[in-house]
Subunit: 201 residues, 2 copies
DNA sequence: TTGGGTTTTGACCGGATGGTAAGCAGTTGC
DNA sequence: GCAACTGCTTACCATCCGGTCAAAACCCAA
């Protein structure tokens, strides 16, 4: 199905993708059913398939949208900015994305966890290229003595791991912390300290 | 089905659980089918159900086994040891578990990611209790000025996130690093540096 | 109002999947 | 060698699920 044209097509595709995000992120691709998505969307199952040609197609549309926004924070890391502040700001943005878009994070995690064959191309292409580009910048900052010398790629991995953890393992985080905690606020403080100490040259 | 008695029961339950781990960790609960597990195990589907009463039961057995071994590294953190070395050793053991038991890590991740209702009890009970016990120890070390003052629970979260990332996002890690890398060796070095700097009082 | 397009639906299909029944085969203890 | 139990298989069932189809409902311009 080509991109929406009329108002009603626009609105319904959005409703479907919103519902699909809800269900896919909570159940994984195989775990989600069209009936569930239809129910969340408030539409009938055949109606979903009027807008998207298959379950696969809905999932694909979701992943395609996702990847763009997912890489934005890293793209925004400014090669001519102040190194420590830039890395710190990147970490902050990733943490905010985990807080504000946990479903997107879990959709991504579900996908990669299960071999990520639907994302392999994008990961080996776009993502890898962007990481290599930013690794060059980080290495330069290290050469200039403006941040500590570290493996730049594993530095990025650490930011992904530490921030996405709060979205992907949300249930565990909340269960262990118990009542009366603001996981993301605490994580912000903790990670601020961590990267301050790690990056100091 | 009660615990195995005869030799053949012992052997076949093990074969089934091994196959189930393979399939569940790669596909999630809903994504796995009894036929797949049966094929990997080299047994017929009805034979699986002779040993385990249902798909659910196989999964439960797997999770029950898992939790014990999963908590071992943290249990082993010695309250009367040298603080920095103890935390570092814990991180090392967790990283080794990611390397040597990635399927177990992914089984766990799949489960928690999808709301973790099958693990909720264990997480809110055993896991939380153990974390609180170790948090007391960490706080004491901080009070004694033997490691840096940090939120002890988020310190543990960071170890989980950073080590499990290499198992759970293995596909991404390998795709981004490309050929000719030993992810776990590099991660070991990186995390050694990270926690050395983070923990220094 | 009418006619043509768009949107929605109920009924249905075929294959996959978890699980069962009933009997056959193997093993073990005597 | 034989009974009795354990282990295993073939055939089958019911349900779920992705997807189809034909027709109904809706919308809107002329």
């Amino acid at each position: 199905m080509p991109r929406p044209r009329t108002r009603i097509q626009q609105k319904n595709s959005e409703t479907i993708l919103e519902a699909a995000l809800e269900v896919f992120s909570a159940q994984g691709f195989r775990g989600a059913t069209l009936d569930q998505i239809a129910e969340v969307a408030g539409l009938s199952k055949p109606n979903l398939l009027y807008y998207f040609s298959s379950k696969e197609a809905i999932h694909q549309a979701l992943l395609a949208d996702l990847l763009d926004t997912w890489l934005d924070p890293l793209r925004a890391m400014n090669p001519v900015g102040e190194p420590v502040a830039e890395v710190m700001a990147y970490m902050r943005r990733k943490l905010e994305m985990s807080r504000d878009f946990p479903r997107e994070s879990r959709l991504f995690a579900n996908e990669v966890l299960q071999g990520g064959h639907r994302l392999r191309e994008a990961i080996e292409g776009e993502l890898k290229a962007l990481v290599e580009e930013k690794a060059v910048v980080l290495r330069r900052w290290m050469d200039e003595g403006r941040i500590a010398r570290l493996d730049p790629v594993h530095l990025l991995f650490s930011i992904w791991a530490l921030t996405q953890h709060y979205a992907d393992f949300d249930m565990q985080v909340r269960a262990v912390l118990g009542e009366g905690h603001d996981p993301y606020a605490e994580a912000g403080d903790f990670l601020e300290t961590l990267y301050t100490r790690l990056l100091r040259p």
